[in-house]
Amino acid sequence: MAASPEQSPGDVVLRVEGLRKHFTTPGGFRRQPVVVRAVDDVSFDLARGETLGVVGESGCGKSTVARTLMRLDEPTAGRALLDGADVFAMGPRELRRARRRMQIVFQDPYASLNPRMTVEEIIAEPWDIHPEVLERRERPERVRALLESVGLRRDHAERYPHQFSGGQLQRIGVARAMALEPEVLICDEPVSALDVSVQAQVVNLLEEIQARLGIAYIFIAHDLAVVRHLSHRIAVMYLGRIVEIGPEAEISEAPRHPYTKALLSAEPRLDLDAESDAAPRQRILLGGEVPSPADPPSGCRFRTRCWKATELCAREAPPLTADPESRSRPPRLVACHFPESDAGS
């Protein structure tokens, strides 16, 4: 895998600033309306050609980030600058044009393809919506070329989705997203629904496409191993906020935020080289469960499960600040009053 592309300000293709998405459940008789802060002040930059992995447990808001960036859900606040133009402020016509540059692959390949359409119709649908991209007579050939580029056969174009397996369907989903040649591809748990042996096919395909076309990925998953494998940088989310963001190597080798550390240690790992009979990996077992985003803890949201939490954590939410020991540029950011350090761990 290529090294993380050097970042300079001009290289940023997507800049997200202060993204918030609050869902309000309607109140009723003697019932207060409940505000669920699914995403609460999330900011990050995505450089051209890089993969930003987003990890976190269910309810941390990672899929909501994806849906709001695609404006499938309307954001409550914030800006998403795609080459300087704010996607969240766009009217319908501008947005339509912006869709060509930003696409999404969904988790469930069975549900994300219309079962009544042939593969050809599915992959050509983007051009029906954006007819200016490709002339009608060139479409059949391009559909087949795209099929080949995702590892399927040309004659699969005439088939229907139910004739394919999950892994093949996900390739078709990728082909559809690639039809408009986007610059940013959001992958919302694209391999979570697939079997282990098939996951690798899709992961490799995504890698190949990036190497060939230089697309930037936002890769959302709960499977740390896959995210670590694919990502240049990783953002760790907890209860609607980013708690740590930085280069993949720094984060997986020396996590600074206690939550990141716990997450990494909880991941079941296939450790065949080490004689781990003798020295079992140190595992941090977090107590309790993720609190409800409708009623998050005061101060640092992780403090209820954190072994380092003090009175300060309950009072004050730690801001995302640069890790002084970070060697990367931009540096790794951590939101913790008492981050782990190289010396301490």
């Binding site: 895998m1 447990e57 269910s58 397996s165 999950g166 892994g167 093949q168 079997d195 282990v196 042996s197 098939v198 996951q199 690798a200 096919q201 992961v203 490799n204 890698e207 709960h222 740390l224 191993a225 896959v226 670590r228 494998h229 993949e248 716990a262 997450l263 240690s265 909880a266 991941e267 079941p268 790992r269 296939l270 450790d271 065949l272 595992r283 077992l285 977090l286 469960e289 993720v290």
Partner: protein, 336 residues
């Protein structure tokens, strides 16, 4: 590892599902043993027959459409499949407990969790009403539910996913079974919760001296907790033996390919090595070895003859079984 007594024996189990149009061969001759006190894992991808096997052991298969066409399942020497209903009721729940993947649909939404845990004592005619409640609270406390005395009266929907799985585990171990069958117990849960549950299962196992059959698709989980593993593919156990041996030096191409397809810890620069194609259609099984259409080392014989089950001597002297014509070559790494 000392040779403990065999607790559960599955021999050449075959299960079919018949619909009007086709016959799906879900399990095609699965064979494995579970010894008292050990953790045995059944590892495989979706559709490999691992859950059907578990359901067959628990006599939970809906018949029809399912049909057990051959094979035998023996629990503590007694044949489960031919056992009378009253006899089976004495064993199910009391000596074999089961934990399912989907705790929400496995719990009855209209009864309190305490009532459901006490159900086990009630069915087996044990304890008075007050005693049952006391023991339910004790169990909830044991599986790590804080405030058990009040939580005992709560209903399943008032618990989170991880908590519900704890309730299920409490129900499964209520009567101190000697075997626990856990069918993907953590698949629906987040990693930090998964770690909690696996930890709980391990401590309960130690406390009760239970054996456990862990059914999972997760190589990481299996490698961390299982003493022995049976790898299933297309309804057959293609390789089984001590977990460490099987996963470190696989001798079936499928096991090897599976290991190479998951992202490893450190070797990030390495490309993943996926298995081509997808698992076979169980209604139209390939002739010969079921894995041959996806196997990189398949040869002509594999397309004709199903490989016999061979016993291989491992490095540490422990034996394992493999179903491959070229097991020795795979194990020695000559074909990787």
């Amino acid at each position: 590892m000392s040779e403990a007594a065999t607790l559960l024996e599955v021999r050449d189990l075959r299960v079919e599902f018949r619909s009007g149009l086709e016959t799906v061969h879900a399990v095609n001759g699965a064979t494995f043993d579970v010894r008292a006190g050990e953790t045995a894992a059944i590892l495989g991808e979706s559709g490999c027959g691992k859950s059907v096997t578990a359901a067959a052991i628990m006599r939970l298969l809906p018949q029809p459409p399912a049909r057990i066409t051959a094979g035998e399942i023996r629990f503590d020497g007694e044949s489960v499949l031919t056992m009378s209903r009253p006899r089976w009721r004495q064993i199910a729940g009391r000596r074999i407990g089961m934990v399912f993947q989907d705790a929400l649909s496995s719990l009855n939404p209209v009864f309190s969790v305490g009532w459901q845990i006490a159900e086990a004592f009630r069915v087996h005619g044990e304890a008075s009403r007050a005693e049952r409640r006391r023991r339910a609270i004790e169990l909830l406390d044991r599986v790590g539910i804080s405030g058990a005395a009040t939580r005992v009266d709560h209903f399943p929907h008032q618990f989170s996913g991880g908590m519900r799985q704890r309730v299920m585990i409490a129900m499964a171990v209520a009567l101190g079974p000697s075997l626990l069958i856990a069918d993907e117990p953590t698949t629906a849960l987040d990693v930090t919760i998964q770690a909690q549950i696996m930890d709980l299962l391990a401590s309960l196992r130690a406390e009760y001296g239970m054996a456990m059959v862990l059914i999972s698709h997760d190589l990481g989980v299996v490698s961390e907790v299982a003493d022995r593993v049976a790898v299933m593919y297309a309804g057959r156990v293609v390789e089984s033996g001590p977990t460490r041996e099987v996963l470190r030096r696989p001798s079936h191409p499928y096991t090897l390919a599976l290991l190479r397809s998951v992202p490893g810890g450190k070797s990030k620069a390495q490309k993943l090595h996926p298995i081509v194609g997808s698992p076979p259609d169980l209604a139209r099984m390939p002739v010969g070895c079921a894995f041959h259409p996806r196997c990189e080392m398949a040869r002509e014989i594999c397309t004709r003859v199903a490989p016999p089950c061979t016993v291989v001597e491992g490095a540490s002297g422990a034996t394992r079984t493999v179903e491959c014509h070229f097991a020795a070559e795979v194990a020695s790494g000559r074909v990787a």
